[in-house]
Symmetry: C2
Subunit: 224 residues, 2 copies
């Protein structure tokens, strides 16, 4: 009953791998990628376990053996997409976050944090949308979504606190309200809306987000 720490893909870090567990892990990977593609194109509820098994070229019981529930497949896929790798490092401890916080220039910080968010959304925005939608049908996924939102808020708070130490925020703008604004501007919903639906490029979105955060969080100085 003792739980070993696991990477999103199911690997136990720092432990030599069996040929069996390696094969099992590759099966899991095939299932996750197949499911992610189906989820993001056809939708969560619309995608049946049967379809996932077919696309991954495994039998249906194997899917259940590997993940247990459909929900587990989605959360695994999300973790992988958000992290971008197989390391279970919290966002706040990622290097780009440290770099952004350490940047003495407020604009530099904003640029770095927008780039970081964009990097994540490039991989994970569609899946985040899937989770958000499925949250209304599955209470457990609702918790996952709530946790993700809470996490993003925490990150934004850390960023706006840092920002407030480097420059003055706009008159009457508390660090908390600034975090809320950043949360809204840098939300996956906005990214999806502008990039996926309105056809903005990844770079356009970043430029816009940096500009928007600058204009909305810091006082207007003449050099616009």
């Amino acid at each position: 009953m003792s739980e070993a720490p696991r990477t999103p893909s199911g690997r136990v870090p720092g432990k030599k791998e069996d040929g069996r567990t390696a094969r099992a892990r590759s099966t899991r990977a095939r299932i996750v990628t197949a499911a992610a593609e189906l989820f993001t194109t056809a939708g969560y509820t619309t995608t049946s376990i049967t379809a996932i098994a077919a696309k991954a070229e495994v039998s249906e019981p194997t899917v259940y053996y590997s993940f247990g529930t459909k929900r587990a497949i989605l959360t695994t896929a999300l973790d992988l997409a958000v992290a971008g790798d197989d390391e279970p490092i919290p966002t706040l401890e990622r290097q780009w976050v440290r770099d952004a916080l350490a940047d003495p220039d407020p604009l530099g910080q904003l640029r770095r944090q927008v780039a970081g968010a964009a990097d994540i959304y490039l991989r994970a925005a569609p899946l985040l949308d899937v989770v958000r939608s499925a949250a209304t049908t599955d209470p457990d996924l609702a918790e996952v979504w709530a946790a993700n939102l809470q996490q993003r808020l925490t990150v934004q708070r850390v960023f706006t606190d840092a920002l407030a130490r480097k420059t003055t925020l706009r008159d009457g703008l508390t660090a908390e309200a600034a975090a809320d604004v950043a949360l809204a501007v840098l939300s996956p919903e906005n990214y999806n809306l502008l990039v996926a639906h309105r056809g903005w490029s990844h770079q356009q979105w970043q430029d816009w987000a940096v500009d928007a955060l600058t204009r909305l969080l810091t006082p207007a100085d003449g050099h616009a």
Copy 2:
């Protein structure tokens, strides 16, 4: 087979009502309000027709007789909430839109259009979220959501075109891009995030939206 125009609640305008159809309409109304409450609290998929029938105090076959599908109940509820009344008047022909377009002051226009959006979201934001979520499970609801988004985009384009005639937009900002930005700022997702989830007041959101649109769409003049 000739279809009469109908209000969202099912009334045929300008036609004297039977006692029967009046009763039927009141049952439809009971079903819609019951369903809307359940949808927004428990979610679309989670809410069963049985539960709706129970809350509306009608039998299950009556629900099917009145609406046919679960989806039809949701779309009816959404139409009612968005319109705010029983009149099938398109958004662009509503009085507040005319007033906003006619306002010679750019800031006045922004204030009016934000107030109009806020007024709609005050009633319809939760249901819009329900539709957005359910859109991934039901292709027909996906169309409803797409139509709603398209409609909001059209409205924003009209507004930004009008704005561009009253004042200059920011350097390099086309009217189309401005509409996209307004679409994002005034999205129901942002309203839900800031008001429902982050605890902003209805008025705070409006003030913020007016300020954000001013800063993001019009050039910075010194009087900030």
